[in-house]
Subunit: 506 residues, 2 copies
């Protein structure tokens, strides 16, 4: 059927055209069916909207598709029905809990990448994955397909070490310390990290406070090979790009299917040619992994999957019941992290976690007595020197110190309204407050904890400070802190005390 091309001036995330309802009937297509244009394009998804937007005999086509197929606005184009891609059938198989083949999984992954699957179909796929899951072999195929959607980076050196945290615990700023220690020991660790999705601060969010994290693949390769370590944002390279497309659908559903999560982690490691991988699994009430049993299951899956993919994988189950260290938010975490590299022994939880994990990587690299060696490298100043080399290579300040980090100018103090012990800290509420203060996009925003679990606070003593880059957000975060009470002190409420602007709200 011939239809006249008109411009569809919308930046839709799916390739879709608009045709009137009666023309659709004529074509034999229904809403969300697919058509081909001029018999030379791949499929596009139809959305049929009668009357209001499009006239009879016309078709609205987004600009990107018009230029891709070389169509001309105002001219006629041949439009034909095109059946659903085979991958829709594979999605239905997964709904029936059938094991998928390598080819079926590969087709789904590439159809998502190419925009051949609609959001409705991707949502059904993720829901089926969430409910019916995949076995390890399927996840391995899935991982390889995801790697193949993007760029692969190979190095002149081998082995290639890598490190990943499942996340979910606030204040987990150990990555630069781990990278600096491992690289100081002569092992190469081209570490890519992510930005926060729903957390207060991802590794890349605080590293970019003091250096550039948006590296090209060639820069990542060069710095890693020369200095031994790098701290890049994974998103700036075209690594497993299909992952981000999927996250956009997972997020509104609030799900993260285990198969997808594992394939997502491993695909990024496979793409940078990792041969050895350590995975940190924070465990605790406020994190993704709630129980030891669940953590062990993740560890088993990851190690089995690593074996299938040729990556020697070890796991560390770590304490995630409360934030790691005292700082939450980009500048605050950057400062705390650099202080530790400068030799500061506090917060001990950060030093300990970083050295223990770095130590495990050293041992994977054949260096005996890893944790002790890691502590030596840190206390000797070697790690700081290596860290500064990396920062400089990534365009940061030469001889960076923790004093170079600027915190937010607006601060509220939150103090104990009675004496007692902190017996619970709610990770999620701290994240909500830090985000209300502006983190992660406002670099100065966040929370600095003065008490951790089990510590005593006398009435009127500081529990935490809220930092922000402007007054409105500082106030908003403080109001939330009063409402949410993120720290339980013997079951009593927390209220803010001495800030004048807060008097009205108490």
């Amino acid at each position: 059927m011939k239809l006249k091309v008109r411009l569809y001036d919308v930046d839709a995330s799916e390739p879709r055209v608009v045709i009137r309802g009666d023309d659709c009937r004529e074509l034999g297509v229904k809403q969300m069916d697919r058509v081909r244009l001029d018999a030379k394009t791949s499929q596009v998804i139809v959305v049929a909207i009668s009357d209001s937007l499009v006239k009879k005999g016309e078709i609205l086509i987004p600009k990107a598709i018009i230029s891709k197929i070389g169509a001309e606005v105002g001219k006629e184009i041949e439009v034909v029905y095109s059946p659903k891609p085979e991958s829709v059938r594979s999605i239905r198989k997964k709904m029936d809990s059938v094991k998928l083949t390598r080819d079926e999984i590969n087709e789904i992954v590439f159809d998502i990448l190419d925009g051949k699957l609609s959001k409705i179909e991707i949502s059904a796929w993720l829901t089926a994955l969430q409910i019916n899951g995949m076995d390890t072999e399927e996840i391995a195929f899935f991982t390889q397909s995801m790697v193949n959607t993007g760029e692969k980076i190979t190095f002149d050196r081998t082995p290639v070490f890598d490190f990943h945290s499942l996340g979910g615990v606030p204040g987990n700023k150990i990555t630069p310390v781990v990278v600096a220690i491992v690289a100081s020991a002569g092992l190469m660790i081209p570490k890519t990290s992510s930005r926060a999705i729903s957390s207060a601060c991802g590794t890349s969010d605080f590293v970019e406070v003091f250096c550039n994290v948006e590296l090209k693949a060639s820069e990542l390769k060069k710095i890693s090979e020369k200095i031994g370590g790098v701290m890049a944002w994974g998103g700036s390279m075209n690594i497993a790009p299909v992952d981000d497309m999927v996250i956009d659908i997972e997020y509104p559903l609030g799900i993260n299917p285990r198969a997808q999560m594992l394939a997502s982690i491993l695909s990024k490691k496979l793409a940078i040619s990792a041969t050895h991988l350590l995975v940190d699994i924070p465990m605790g009430t406020g994190t993704k992994v709630k129980t030891l049993e669940e953590a062990r299951e993740y560890a088993r899956d990851l190690m089995e999957l690593g074996t299938l993919l040729g990556i020697r994988t070890e796991c560390a189950i770590t304490y995630g019941d409360q934030p790691v260290g005292n700082a939450i938010g980009p500048a605050l975490e950057a400062r705390e992290c650099i202080k530790i590299l400068e030799g500061n022994a506090h917060p001990a939880s950060v030093v300990e976690k970083a050295c223990d994990l770095a130590g495990m990587i050293l041992e994977m690299g054949g260096i005996p007595d890893g944790p002790t060696k890691a502590r030596e490298i840190l206390s000797s100043g070697q790690a700081l020197a290596k860290f500064r080399q990396i920062v400089e290579a990534q365009g940061g300040k030469k001889d960076l110190t923790s004093d170079d980090i600027v915190l937010g100018n607006f601060m509220h103090e939150v103090r104990a309204v009675r004496s007692g012990y902190v017996h619970h800290i709610k990770n999620k509420d701290l994240v909500t407050i830090a985000r209300a203060a502006g983190a992660p996009s406002d670099k100065g925003a966040g929370i600095l904890l003065f008490r951790k679990k089990g510590q005593r606070a006398e009435k009127g003593e500081m529990l935490f400070q809220i930092y922000a880059d402007n007054q409105a957000k500082a106030d908003r975060a403080r109001d939330l802190a009063i409402k949410l009470e993120p720290m339980d002190i013997e079951g009593m409420l927390i209220k803010k005390v001495p800030n004048p602007s807060a008097l009205k709200s108490i």
Copy 2:
């Protein structure tokens, strides 16, 4: 946060606004998150598109929402983050196979109706239903919620009889015959039917060949109470409207979760106050229900559900391995159906099915020996008279006869290329061919079968005719028939023979 209103000139099926990525970060919302506008609207879904469509500090809002909230283009509006509706949490519960409460189900149904759930979320809901299902009590709650989304019709008379076919078998034109017999016997049967979604011809598609099916609720009530029967299109009344919104998502996924299907059927019956219901369950390789076991399960579910909802429900499992009768397509089915009412004994399969099912309804209404009584009503001409009364009441021709029905002007014959027995007829392929010929929107289009299963055809004898309203579609359908071979004759191919325009394609 204040943003300047601009018109979003798109007829989106979800209420969505467009905000730039950086403004979204400022607001703390992500793509597919929700916002409230001016604190007085219900939620709308955000889609964040940076740069191309919208400027910093601006928000694109669809016309419908602008007028609903009384906003003004060019003026500022307060935009605030709004959390996901509770129903998203209930959808996740269903993913975890948790039984939902009446309130949770009701919330999901009304959030779909009100556009508060995105297509991604509805897709996840349907996928979870497809995989994890619902128990009968949940389906009963679901059905009641669906009824409450639309109009309810009550009658001055009771009992109210109804009839439904699960469908999936082509040529199932028994409804007018059943309605006419039942109404002739003095029982009231206000029958609503559907149009084809993926089939070649729904009941409403062929009934509207000879009378108006788009009745208002008041007309349906009046005609039913006066004449005893009606043959209306359910879609023209506002009955359980949420069902259609869901079908739009089911269709691209190619799924029809049992819970949704059962709730969909029963909600339409409950909405027209049915007290007695007969469900036809066609069973066979080409239909929705493949095995006797599956059919019995549907029957059990329907009867149990009927009991919970206060509708006395009986089921008939019928033969669906091949088309019912010989005609497929609107005009062809209309003609075959009227011929039977006029006393034609052929095709016997249609007469038999219609009388047996009508007989079951008569017995539900306390009339003994139903099938015999039904045959008497049909052969005496009472059913024809009643049918004509209904047709006239629905604006059709007075004293309608089968000769009034006009078939398509373009016809191809398909003949046997060798002698043998028809040992298989593929329902789905016949549907595909009939749709290619233009059915159901081209009223004259369809297929007329000259052989059914088990019958012998000598080489060169007619197997079926293809009708169409124009030459191109007739040719397209014939080409498909040659390709698909919908009838197996001792395993040999079928080819079209004597049409001159086809010479080039043989």
